[in-house]
């Protein structure tokens, strides 16, 4: 019978032995060495039945198919745009994948110019990490106004919260529109004072993401900052 060598939900370092015995299966962020399962990165251990994985807490964004991200246009090609996606690799948005139909001889800067931020989907990532983006689908658009902040992409799930509970709490408290990209780029639009509150709140979440009781702390923080009473919506 196998044996766990670390507690569930603790921080482990690379090369740390997580479990002994062939009963356990190594998943993401772990590997097997003889009968031991070893962590291959800094992260939180997650034991789910027989499957052990480590959820990384830091690192650059790695593009994944199906992610909705916020990207910056950095260059224009004959057939599309090059996007900076805050990762080691850049993405390409082809003319065919743009929101509207674009004629062959059209001036592409009229649609998305260099320096523009857009919300886009990643539709394909190759083994060489060539990334294809698409603007087809609801919600994909160019971002006008507002401000952009960058956060650690591994904290994005905590910023969004269960079924979007955290981000909608911030939205309700500050009347700002907020879009969180999976790559850790966040767009905030509202009155300048409120935008600053949102930035502060997100930075707080980023710092305290791994400490339990986060929602409650953020609620009191927002109440103090905005002088408003906030009701946390129960998520089923």
């Amino acid at each position: 019978m196998g044996k766990l060598l670390v507690e569930n939900k603790t921080i482990v370092t690379p090369g740390e032995e997580l479990a002994e015995g062939m009963d356990f299966l190594p998943a993401e962020g772990t590997f097997r060495d003889k009968d031991k399962i070893i962590s291959s990165g800094l992260g939180l251990v997650n034991v789910n039945g027989r499957v052990i994985k480590t959820i990384s807490v830091s690192g650059k964004y790695i593009p994944k198919t199906g992610d909705t991200i916020i990207a910056k246009v950095t260059n224009i090609l004959m057939s599309g745009w090059i996007l900076d996606i805050d990762s080691a690799y850049s993405a390409v948005l082809s003319v065919k994948e743009a929101k509207d139909f674009i004629r062959r001889d059209a001036d592409l800067t009229r649609y998305y110019n260099i320096g523009d931020y857009i919300i886009t989907d990643i539709v394909m990532v190759t083994s060489q990490r060539l990334v294809d983006a698409s603007m087809k689908g609801p919600g994909m658009r160019k971002l006008i106004g507002g401000r952009i902040i960058n956060v650690n992409c591994h904290k994005v799930p905590r910023i969004i919260g269960k079924k979007g509970s955290m981000v909608s709490m911030i939205k309700n408290a500050t009347d700002c529109s907020i879009i969180v990209g999976q790559n850790g780029v966040i767009w905030i639009n509202g009155s300048p004072e409120n935008e600053i509150i949102v930035v502060k709140t997100i930075k707080k979440i980023e710092q305290e993401a791994h400490i339990s009781g986060l929602t409650e702390r953020i609620k009191t923080f927002l109440e103090k900052e905005t002088n408003k009473k906030i009701n946390i919506e129960k998520v089923e």
């Binding site: 921080i11 291959s40 990165g41 650059k60 080691a88």
Partner: protein
Amino acid sequence: MGYTKRNDGRKFDETRPIEAKAGIIKRADGSAYFKMGKTVAYAAVYGPREIHPKFLQNPTKGKLRCYYNMMPFSSVGDRVRPGANRRAKEIAMVTEKAILPVIDLSKFPNSVIDVFIELPQTDAGTRCAGICAASIALADAGILMSDMVAAVSIGRVDDKLVVDLDYSEESYEGGTVADIPMAVISRTGEISLLQMDGNLSREDLKKAVEMAKKACSKIDKIQRDALKNKYEVKK
């Protein structure tokens, strides 16, 4: 006569007091501070990011690139000219090779992981401190690693084998000195760096390797604690 007592009163197999911290440079993707006695090393990791110049791109795997730099005011002697010199380039190369076995670069084709090691204060053992700091910083940057690397220098001062030489021992005048910086991959006990300055008998070298492994397992624990402390719940 022999070397009977160490200059700073340590035991022969004792390292200097070590202090390590992770995540101290906010703008870097990963960073670390590693202090060993009076030797201080900072390491900052950036990446994986796009590689420049572009001809260095490798479509099958990523690249690890290390820089080593002693600050102008870091040593007791003359001002150290900053930037790459022959020694700095060599140390950067051996650092790279000491760390490379534990890093999985296959996930980052065409990209580079940059490691910058800066030494604001030096008192011998800088490449070891640099490797220790770089190892913490790489883990902090979320790079996939199969293990961590700890490094220490073992030396022979006159007739005694000693762990972690400081500058006064390296420049000991009462007899000959040999200095062997070693890097040990913690879990497997493999050696990824072994250089030697001076000469040593075969038996002594074997003993020195054992001493390094013992000292490195202690350093390894300090490195891991530094990483865990960063995420510790503060009450």
